[in-house]
C-alpha cells in the first residue's frame, strides 16, 4: 500500500513539468536543492554526530570548479564530474585534521572554513572574478535542472537508506553514541568519519555543479554565504536529524514557511521565521519528525527510518 502511494508521488514529480507552471517548477528546483543539501549534510551530521556547519563548502567548490573548467572548454559531463571530484578531494584532505576536533570545535572550525572559502573566492579575483561573479554559457535549463535535481535527491535518499541498513551505518551510529568506546571495540573511527564526509561531499559537490549550470551566474556569497551555509543545517535539525525523511520535512517546512511569511507579511517575515526556528529548537529537540503524532503516522506508513 505504501509502495503504491510512494510510487504515485514519484510519478507525480516525474511528470510535473508537463503541467507547465514555471513558478512552481522553479520553486520545486529550489526545494530539491535544499533537500539535497540537507540530506547530504545529515549523512555526516545525523549519523556520526559531527555537525558540519561548513557543509556548504563542498557545494561551493563543486559550483566554482564546474564553472571554471567548463569555461575553459572542458566537456560538460566531465565538468560535472570534475566539480564532484573537487569536492571529494577537498573532503578527503580536510578530514584528517578536522576530525581531530570534537563537538562545537569541529562545527566552528568547519564554518570558519566556509568563511575562508568565501573570502578566498572574493579575493582571488584573477581566477574567480571575485565579487563580479563567475558566468557560464547561457541557456534555458529549467527542465533538465528539474530532473537532475530530482534524480540527485532520489539518489541521496537511496544511498542514505542503504547506509542505514549496512555495517557502515552501524559503525557511524556507534561513533555518534560513544566514539571512544566504538574505537575500543575496533571501529576504524577515522576511516568511517572520512567515508561519511566524502559521501556527503560528493552529493553536495555535484549539486553545486548543477547549480552553476542552471543559474549561469555565481558569486562567492551565493555559494559560500552565511545564510546559505546555515540553511541546510537548520533544515536537517529542524526536520529531524538521523531520520531519512527528517531533512526532507525540514526543507519543505522551512521553505513553505518562508514563502508564506514573505507573501503575508510585508515586514518582519524574517523575524517570524526566526521565531519559528527558535520554537522548534526549544520545544522539539528531536525535530519535527519526532513529534508524537507525526512520528506515529510515519511509522505506520513505513517512512520512519532512523539510524
Amino acid at each position: 500500500m505504501n509502495r503504491i502511494i510512494l510510487g504515485l508521488v514519484l510519478v507525480f514529480f516525474l511528470i510535473f513539468p508537463v503541467f507547465n507552471m514555471p513558478y512552481l517548477n522553479t520553486f520545486l528546483i529550489i526545494l530539491f536543492m535544499y533537500i539535497l543539501l540537507a540530506e547530504s549534510y545529515d549523512l555526516l551530521g545525523g549519523y556520526t554526530g559531527y555537525i558540519n556547519m561548513g557543509h556548504i563548502a563542498f557545494f561551493g567548490i563543486g559550483a566554482y570548479t564546474f564553472g571554471l573548467l567548463w569555461n575553459m572548454g572542458l566537456a560538460l559531463y566531465l565538468s560535472f564530474l570534475a566539480g564532484t571530484f573537487a569536492a571529494v578531494i577537498f573532503a578527503i584532505l580536510i578530514s584528517f585534521p578536522f576530525f581531530r576536533l570534537r563537538g562545537a570545535y569541529f562545527s566552528l572550525a568547519a564554518f570558519a572554513l566556509v568563511k575562508l572559502m568565501e573570502h578566498l573566492t572574493l579575493n582571488l579575483s584573477s581566477i574567480t572574478h571575485g565579487s563580479d561573479g563567475l558566468k557560464v554559457l547561457e541557456g534555458n535549463r529549467m527542465i533538465p535542472m528539474y530532473y537532475l535535481s530530482l534524480l540527485l535527491v532520489i539518489a541521496v535518499i537511496a544511498v542514505s537508506y542503504l547506509i542505514m541498513h549496512s555495517r557502515l551505518g552501524l559503525a557511524m551510529a556507534s561513533i555518534r553514541e560513544e566514539e571512544t568506546i566504538a574505537f575500543d571495540f575496533g571501529v576504524p573511527v577515522q576511516r568511517i568519519k572520512a567515508t561519511a564526509m566524502v559521501i556527503s561531499a560528493s552529493f553536495a559537490g555535484l549539486m553545486g555543479a548543477f547549480y552553476t549550470w542552471y543559474t549561469i551566474f555565481i558569486n562567492p556569497s551565493m555559494v559560500f554565504g552565511t545564510d546559505i551555509a546555515l540553511m541546510p543545517v537548520a533544515m536537517a535539525m529542524l526536520g529531524g536529524s538521523g531520520v531519512i525523511i527528517g531533512p526532507v520535512i525540514g526543507a519543505v517546512f522551512l521553505l513553505i514557511v518562508e514563502e508564506t511569511l514573505w507573501t503575508r507579511f510585508a515586514y518582519l517575515h524574517t523575524a517570524a521565521y526566526g521565531l519559528v526556528i527558535l520554537c522548534v529548537g526549544l520545544f522539539m529537540p528531536g525535530g519535527l519528525v519526532r513529534l508524537g503524532p507525526l512520528r506515529r503516522f510515519l511509522v505506520r506508513i513505513g517512512l520512519f527510518n532512523e539510524l
Binding site: A109, F111, L116, N123, L238, A271, V276, L278, V280
Partner: protein, 286 residues
Amino acid sequence: MEIAVQLVIAGILQGGVYALAAFGLSLIFGVSDVLNLAHGEFLMLGGLFTFLLFSATGLNPFLIGLMMVPFAFCLGYIFDRLLMRPLAGKKEHIRLMSSILVTLGAALFIEDVTSFLAGAEEKGVDYTLPSFFWGDIFISYLRLLAVVMIAALTVGIHYYLKKTYTGRALRATTQNIRGAMLVGVDTHRIRSVTFGIGSGLASIAGVFYVVLLSISPDMGLGVTIKYLCIIVLGGLGSLIGSLVGGLILGLTESVVSYYTPHWGQTAAFLILVLILLIRPKGLFGK
C-alpha cells in the same frame, strides 16, 4: 618604521575590542557548553542604544555604555533563563543542535525587529577627542581610552573570577559541572549570571564598535561567527586565550589590510583554521 608601529598599535586596539566580546562568549561557552549564535546581537544592541541615547542626549558614549551594562546583564540573564536552561540536561550533540536552532532563531528575530524599528542603515557615533603625537606616532585619545578601558575591564574580570564567590563558582562550573553541583553550586543560576556578564561585555564592545567603526542591525551573525572563531582559537574559557586570540586576529587584519587590502579578513580566517588544525583545543585550551 612608524607605519609598522602604527599598524601594530591599531591592531592591538582592534584586537582588544575583539578580546572583550570574545571573552564574554568564552565564559558563556565554558559554562553552558552550547553555541550561542545570538551573542553578536547583544553587541549590536549595545552599540545601537548607545547611538540612540547619544543622539538624544549628547552624553559621552562611554558613559552611556557603562550605564547600559546592567540592562545588558539583565537581558542576558533572562535570555539564558528562558531559552538556554531547558537545553541544559540533554545529550551533547542534541544540546548542540538545539542551541544552534534556538540562538539562530533568536538572532534572526532580533535582527529583523531591530531593523524594522530603528532602520536598517549603518549608524555611527561621531565622538571625537583630541589626538596627539607621541614622537612620530599618531595616537588618538579615543583609542587610548579604549585601551585603558579594556585593560581595566580585563583586570576587573580577572579579579572577579579569582576572588569572588560567584567568580570561582563560575570557574568551577566551567571545569567540571558535576563537581560544581556536588559542592553546592547552583549551576543554573551561575549559567544565567555568566550569560549576563557575557552579554554585558558584548554590549561594551558594541559601544566601541559604534564609536570607532559603525554598527548596523544585520551585523550580528557575522560578528558572532567571528567571535566564536576567536574563542575556539584561543581555547575555551581562557581569559588569556581570548585576549591572545583577539589580538592575533586584530593584528593580522590590521597589518595585512595595509599591505594588501581586502585580504585582512581572509588572512585572519586562514590563521584561525591553521592554528586550530595544529592545536585542536585552541592555543590555551585544556
